[in-house]
């Protein structure tokens, strides 16, 4: 895992210098964070193939993107799920203004924000990652919420943006036995850069299901870091679906602070054309009897490129950990490329840690079976592709599930 990337000034891009130079002076509740992020970006190199964590992921698209703050756009979505609370959020203003929060959901106080902001990023070891510093430098507000003990909340966050930069920062505290279904849409409707940093702390017995649906386009990039900290007996599921981004980099990271929690990670990325999608996940068990269930899937067509790196750390304290990681990729073109790598670091000796990776094309026998029933080759391939994706889609929270039919994902991907 990279910490800060000390590098010569020459490695910094002129585009980044230019952007930093024209940013308004740091202000508002996040001023100190902005200062820090800007300073960090000035002092570190833009990640490149020379950095192990970025070996396959070319960031050159970033220098071509418009980086003025993006205006909000309207996403075509069905009405909110019954009982769900939907917020439109573009990072530039307070999305809670004018809203009465539903029972169980509260705004964090300035003191709580000061105390909590960055805590989980640090625990998950990514507070100095380049995409996080980029968010630090740009984000003007933080959406900071608490789900109170034993409450059940269903939240929808919709962030659709026109051309430019959208920087979103989210801080969530789930108290004991609180439950949160969080469906989140990030959608680029024009060229631009979308930066998302999520921090969630789950107290004992809390449950989170987070589904990120990120729909982009060829001249848009997504940089998303989702960090969660879990107390024992908590249950967290992080699911992300990405399609269409010229460049997408996702870093879901979970730390079980005393083990004995349950973490589920689900990922699906679709790449076509010359697009790149890269997921670098990280899970660390700091105590015994933790569980991980991870499934990452990729569909690569055209000259698309998919990268998956799944790090799992099981130190000596994490005896009786039970972790399973599976990466499955579907290669639809001989010019597409898949790089997938498990990265298991296991010191404890009494653990179960399974991992596996498959890369395949559509199965001839399955295609033939469907064709032999009158289903055309293209439609058969579509059915098989949908089946491949369904395994991830079906685990999304309900609202997120309804936002991403496979037709939509494929339409965006191409």
């Amino acid at each position: 895992m990279s910490a800060s990337l000390a590098a010569p000034a020459a490695a910094k891009g002129a585009w980044l210098e230019g952007w930093l130079a024209q940013l308004p002076a740091a202000c508002g509740e996040l001023a100190p964070v902005q200062e820090r992020g800007r300073q960090a970006l000035r002092q570190t190199a833009i990640p490149s193939a020379r950095h192990e964590d970025w070996r396959f992921t070319d960031l050159s698209l970033l220098q071509t993107l418009p980086l003025a703050p993006a205006a909000a756009a309207t996403a075509a979505l069905p009405a909110p799920e019954a009982g769900a609370f939907r917020l439109h959020w573009n990072g530039g203003s307070d999305p809670l203004a004018g809203h009465a929060l539903p029972a169980g959901l509260q705004r964090l106080s300035a003191g709580e924000i000061a105390q909590g902001l960055g805590h989980t990023l640090a625990a998950a070891g990514c507070q100095q990652h380049w995409p996080v510093e980029l968010n630090h430098a740009a984000a003007e507000h933080v959406l900071a919420l608490r789900v109170t003990s034993r409450s059940q909340v269903s939240l929808e966050l919709v962030s659709a943006a026109a051309e430019g930069l959208q920087a979103l920062r989210l801080l969530l505290l789930l108290e004991e036995k609180a439950e949160l279904d969080l469906s989140q849409l990030v959608e680029a409707q024009a060229a631009g850069l979308h930066s998302l940093v999520v921090e969630v702390h789950l107290a004992r017995g809390a449950r989170l299901s987070h589904g990120l649906v990120a729909l982009g386009q060829a001249d848009a990039a997504l940089m998303a870091n989702m960090a969660i900290e879990q107390e024992p007996e908590s249950n967290a599921q992080l699911s992300s679906i990405t399609s269409g981004w010229g460049l997408a980099r996702l870093e879901p990271r979970a730390v079980q602070v005393d083990g004995a929690a349950h973490t589920t990670l689900r990922g699906l990325q679709l790449v076509d054309g010359q697009r790149i999608a890269d997921t670098h996940s990280f899970v660390e068990f700091k105590g015994p009897e933790g569980q991980l269930d991870q499934l990452h899937k990729a569909v690569a067509a055209g000259q698309g490129r998919s990268v998956f790196n799944g790090a799992v750390r099981v130190p000596r304290a994490a005896q009786r950990t039970n972790a399973a990681q599976l990466s499955r990729s579907l290669l639809l073109s001989d010019r597409a490329r898949i790089d997938t790598k498990p990265e298991l670091e296991i010191v404890a000796d009494d653990v179960k840690c399974a991992h596996g990776a498959t890369v395949s094309s559509l199965q001839t026998d399955e295609l033939f079976y469907l064709q032999s029933r009158g289903i055309g080759a293209d439609q058969a391939a579509g059915l098989l592709q949908r089946a491949f994706c369904e395994e991830v889609l079906r685990d999304l929270p309900a609202a997120a599930r309804s936002w991403c039919s496979l037709e939509r994902l494929l339409e965006v991907a191409a």
């Binding site: 029933r373 055309g376 059915l383 395994e391």
Partner: protein, 264 residues
């Protein structure tokens, strides 16, 4: 039911085919008329299954000679899906499991593809559910199977029943059933054979591919063909199957040897 004046549905002439570099079919001749039930018997490796896959258009097999005409049309130049749509059905020996594709949706899409070819209107979800529930009775299948993924986790018998259910929905004119009896216990065999008998009529034809007489106890064939070394060696009535059952396949080998000596 043999009627000499019934229209010819399938005409196979001197069919040669190979898989990779291995020649498997070496001159198959077979004529199938409407209303007929044919059985092709033979040892493993005789070319029975290859014949069925070639007729359905499996991409792994290459036709190297001969012709197959279906109702006057060159079947071999059609894609597998087109063959299915015009009424050629292959019941698989090993039906493929497709996790994530719902059986109900699969059945609906395929049924509609066949209906479109016949100029019939597409069935929406509700109309199709009514149809499928009625056809389930043909193979005494539990509707719960509709909600599962295609063949996923089905027992051997359930998979074969699902094949016959597909046949009941697609209403083919030529149904080729490749070892439909394999892996079935007595009860399942009775149900599957009952389904095939219910679906057979004066306008369609069935080609059963099997090792064993026991399927032919349940489905009475009009013709029995013995296949060996990629050809149909002998053709007879249902008594030929009984003869095979009694004498085994050894005499087939002797006939083959005699044939080889003749050619030499």
């Amino acid at each position: 039911m043999i009627r000499p004046d019934a229209p010819v549905l399938l005409e196979i002439r001197d069919l040669h085919a190979r898989v990779e570099d291995k020649a498997i079919l070496k001159g198959v001749n077979l004529t199938i008329r409407a209303g007929e039930i044919h059985a092709v018997m033979g040892r493993n490796g005789s070319g029975k299954s290859t014949l069925s896959k070639v007729l359905a258009g499996h991409p792994a097999y290459t036709v190297t000679g001969g012709s197959v005409t279906y109702r006057g049309e060159n079947l071999l130049e059609l894609d597998p899906e087109q063959r299915a749509r015009i009424g050629v059905f292959l019941g698989f020996q090993y039906p493929v499991e497709i996790p994530g594709v719902s059986n109900l949706e699969f059945l609906r899409v395929s049924t509609n593809a066949r209906r479109a070819e016949k100029g019939e209107e597409e069935l929406d979800t509700f109309a199709f559910e009514d149809l499928v529930r009625e056809r389930l009775k043909v193979v005494q299948m539990d509707p719960a199977f509709l909600d599962r993924s295609v063949n996923e986790g089905f027992s051997g018998g359930e998979k074969k029943r699902n094949e016959i259910l597909q046949m009941a929905l697609l209403e083919p004119l030529v149904a080729i059933l490749d070892e439909t009896d394999s892996g079935l216990d007595i009860d399942a065999l009775r149900i599957v054979a009952g389904g095939v008998n219910q679906l057979a009529n004066a306008d369609n034809a069935t080609l059963l591919i099997t090792h064993y007489q026991r399927l032919l106890d349940a489905i009475t064939p009009d013709y029995v063909h013995v296949m060996a070394a990629g050809r149909i060696l002998r053709t007879g009535g249902k008594e030929l199957a009984l003869e095979l059952e009694q004498r085994g396949y050894d005499w087939v080998d002797q006939e083959l040897a005699a044939l080889a000596a003749e050619v030499a």
